[in-house]
Symmetry: C2
Subunit: 222 residues, 2 copies
């Protein structure tokens, strides 16, 4: 009876180990996704475009971005904070189109330390309670009461990509990056839409901390 038990225990243990190894090694659980590093940028409302660039001004497209319908404009603005009576500027902030209902400024924590402001980490468009910031254009300036954020790490997926990976819109995942400064980035928000192109959006701080650039790959951990 004892040796019978031993045989069973050994075979169960072997089965458990095999299952675990299969799970860890399985290609089904590993997906490589291309990284897109987002430099600081602004999205503008049509109203603010007119204040910053003049009545009737139309922004010019410089180039299309990877996400369908999104583009970088030729024009840039300056952003400014005013803390303890001192104005701090960052110039040449790229405008991304198309226009939005509300202006939004996305910067890195490095930028926020320079500006001495403390923007929250947020998904695009989630601006309630975000930081005040000033926009300065060639023809005028706008004092935004809110609108400045550090963008949440996020992954754009088409509906097909999402199905393939078993990911649903709003899911929070982790991604793994290899290299000389490797690691795992948590709290990555998944955005699923038919129009999206597979792309992991990280800001400059994440890109520089992990020494990755646009076009490099990360691995989705599920």
């Amino acid at each position: 009876m004892k040796s019978e038990y031993d045989k069973i225990i050994k075979s169960v243990a072997a089965e458990v180990v095999e299952n675990i190894v299969n799970m860890i090694d399985s290609d089904n659980y590993r997906f490589a996704v291309p990284i897109g590093i987002s430099n600081r940028h602004v999205h503008l409302s049509s109203k603010d475009v007119e204040i910053l660039f003049g009545k009737g001004y139309e922004l010019s497209k410089m180039k299309d971005l990877k996400q369908t319908g999104q583009y970088a404009c030729k024009e840039t603005v300056t952003i400014a904070s005013n803390i303890d009576g001192k104005e701090r500027l960052i110039e040449n902030i790229r405008i991304l189109g198309p226009m939005r209902s509300e202006s939004q400024v996305e910067i890195s924590a490095t930028d926020s330390r320079y500006l001495k402001i403390n923007p929250p980490v947020r998904s695009s468009g989630d601006l309630e309670g975000s930081s005040a910031i000033k926009l300065i254009g060639p023809r005028g300036s706008v004092d935004l009461k809110k609108g400045c954020i550090i963008a949440t790490r996020h992954l754009h997926l088409s509906t097909l990509d999402a199905e393939k990976m078993g990911i649903v819109h709003g899911q929070i995942i982790q991604v793994k990056i290899d290299g000389i400064k490797p690691g795992v980035l948590g709290n990555v928000y998944c955005k699923v839409n038919d129009s999206y192109v597979l792309e992991l959006h990280l800001d400059n701080d994440d890109g520089n901390a992990f020494l990755v650039k646009s076009g490099d790959y990360a691995e989705v951990l599920l």
Copy 2:
């Protein structure tokens, strides 16, 4: 017989799961270590101090650092790159003492992108093949043929701390950081010495990517 097998299988499976959960949850495998964020800085040779500040000049201590015998000086220098005929400067780089046999400049990847140079990720003192950079002081300048690096993530441990954690000098570990931008930082080099004070040294890019500051804690993953 069949139900006898089932009972055994269920009890073995339960035992395996409990062991795994215990291992994961065990305090024995979790150590919190305080983080120290290193801003860009230089270590200077006595020879270079004289060139930069004048013959016989002695640097003044501003404050002691956490690691025994290390201190920040009141003096700063400017560093400069010269790429494609254009000089790019970063001013007010803190000098850390004591003097070393060879001057060394530690910057972040963000700095290196601004300077348009490509320093390797290295441990302090491992300067072979590192980047050229210019040091500018109030009385002179030095063209370092090598000496500029991005510092490897590293953990200082006393011999006692290392024994407690089961870590040996030279071991590569991972650390986990919680928060709104959480994750795991890999390739952390462990330095063990009787004189060391427990401290995880990360550069500004890592600090800003994970939104941590000096005095925050990371968890050692063993």
